[in-house]
Subunit: 332 residues, 2 copies
């Protein structure tokens, strides 16, 4: 009999999540039945979108249940298999994060290649959901053309850092915001033309100074003031890929929206929200492009790693204060 | 020598425009030179978008100049012509509204057919810029499918009334707002499923009661609370055609935007502003479709007519208090 520690939601956060919203419990994991696989997780992901699932409301994914283990992207190794196509030692991805081991039907697992070019955990970051989010949102919604200007908020995060680099690969001028000078330095080291520390204030003034002629594409991870600044700086027919609004995820009451929303009309702006599932069909092309860019050095990434499942709440909470550069991960 | 009365902007409105922002002056109109045409206007249009041109700022059309005659859509009759292709008696449209007579180069005029089905002034309304705005915005941006629900604000206005009727022609459920019970009655007489008098308050509650399952398309003429309600009621992948936001045109400081803008992400909303010029190429198809719908009775319209160029400021100011049902016109 295997035992597994798992992280449960024991109360719904009000405002910013705290350690008190979570507990770590130990459970028994049965042997795999017919068609099932026993997996020991090696890495798990924490992502800003999980905050939305902590509210008790209908959305594109069901809410987390109180007293139950949380869910999220994870990588693991097959320990025992009662299912065709899976053998001990296989690398698999699943949505059974926030726990050390689990048994699941084979259909809930995806077998991943073992590559020599990238560490396994890249499949939770640049080669996983955040990477595809960046790739699809920028290319399909943003449709950047060479010479255009792309503005990305949360530019040093798991999604934003990929957006910024793909925009450079596509021949754009890139202005990206981040929450520390160190993150801005990293962005500059990756070729980003204008890296702005939004904590220095006067965001509109900083963006205007960087790209006085305005922006053609905005990739939004932050919302709030960033969105208002993007509307203000948008050139006619600019495209807005609305990926997330982390600045609002912990709001206890709804904040006012952008005061300049009226410019959507006169500038013929195109603002489009999306969830990465919409673009699942792009995955083969995405993996091919990304592997190529990684191999030729045009795409790199950072990770912030915490150790042990008990640290998962800290990792998650850290997302809202910018505790991560690049992908926030928990090593199990 | 012909004389012409014209309406000039003598000061930029602060807040809602008043009669004091305008003056009527009489000018001499010279005989047409080579390639020029003398036109006597018979009808002129006042439109909400003109408010934007009264601010001194860059936009998609240049601002009106203080002390000069205003401009806008007009219909007139050719009185004298020194240009090939134009003869006395021809019906022409131009942007030389707000005046009784003018001389212009032939290139600034468009010759219109004299039809027996529709009065001339329809070319300023259902068959003109407002009609094309409705047609293109609804069909190209809204992309309504039969059985879907279309929400239109300002449903009894020049644009909204055409949107509501085309949506019915396309097999949609239509919910439209207007500012009086009489306007709502007219909308119901045109087959609109749910006509809502927004002055009765609780707009969200009224829309929710009418279409509890939500909306697939929103055609926005109003902005403000209407936009917030539309976001709240939007179903996943809903399309927003952002045509105008008349509720904000006279704002003296920027009002907060929609407090629920974050739903753009989770619902994968597509919000797209537009100016009718973008869709100029659709005009032949638009005229063909509209003529057909008028002939078979599926499209009708209302007009609100004031008499004489001196009334043009009143007509324009009346747009902001809902003084019009259907197209607001001045007969010259």
């Amino acid at each position: 009999m295997t035992t597994s520690r798992e992280v449960r939601l024991i109360s719904r956060p009000v405002g910013t999540p705290t350690a008190a919203n979570f507990e770590v419990a130990t459970v028994d994991v049965a042997a795999p039945g017919a068609g099932e696989v026993l997996v020991r997780n090696t890495w798990m992901s924490v992502d800003p979108y999980m905050r939305g699932r902590m509210y008790d409301r209908a959305s594109y994914v069901p809410p987390f249940q109180i007293g139950e283990a949380l869910q999220g992207g994870a990588l693991g190794e097959v320990i025992a298999s009662n299912a065709e196509g899976f053998a001990p030692g296989d690398l698999v991805s699943s949505m059974f994060g926030w726990r050390e081991s689990f048994v699941a039907p084979a259909a809930a697992l995806e077998k991943l290649p073992r590559t020599t070019n990238v560490p396994d955990q890249a499949f939770l970051g640049v080669l996983g959901m955040p990477g595809l989010t960046a790739y699809a949102g920028l290319l399909e919604i943003g449709q950047p053309k060479p010479g255009e200007t792309v503005f990305v908020s949360g530019g040093a995060g798991a999604v934003g850092s990929v957006v910024a680099q793909i925009a450079k690969i596509k021949g754009c001028t890139v202005v990206a915001t981040a929450g520390s000078d160190a993150k801005c330095d990293w962005l500059r080291s990756r070729g980003v033309d204008h890296a702005i520390n939004y904590r220095n204030g006067d965001l509109l003034g900083q963006v205007k100074a960087a790209v006085p002629k305005g922006i053609d594409v905005y990739f939004d991870n932050v919302g709030g003031e960033h969105l208002e600044v993007a509307i203000e700086m948008a050139r006619p027919f600019a495209r807005f890929a609305e990926c997330g609004m982390i600045s609002a995820y912990n709001d206890m009451e709804a904040a006012p929206g952008p005061r300049n929303i009226i410019q959507v009309v006169g500038k013929s702006l195109r603002i489009r929200g999306f969830i990465v599932m919409e673009f699942a069909a792009l995955r083969p092309q995405f993996l091919k492009d990304m592997m190529g860019w990684i191999a030729d050095g045009s795409l790199a990434w950072e990770e912030t790693v915490l150790d042990g499942v008990a640290k998962a709440p800290d990792a998650f909470i850290g997302l809202f204060s910018g505790g991560n550069t690049g992908k926030m991960l928990v090593k199990l």
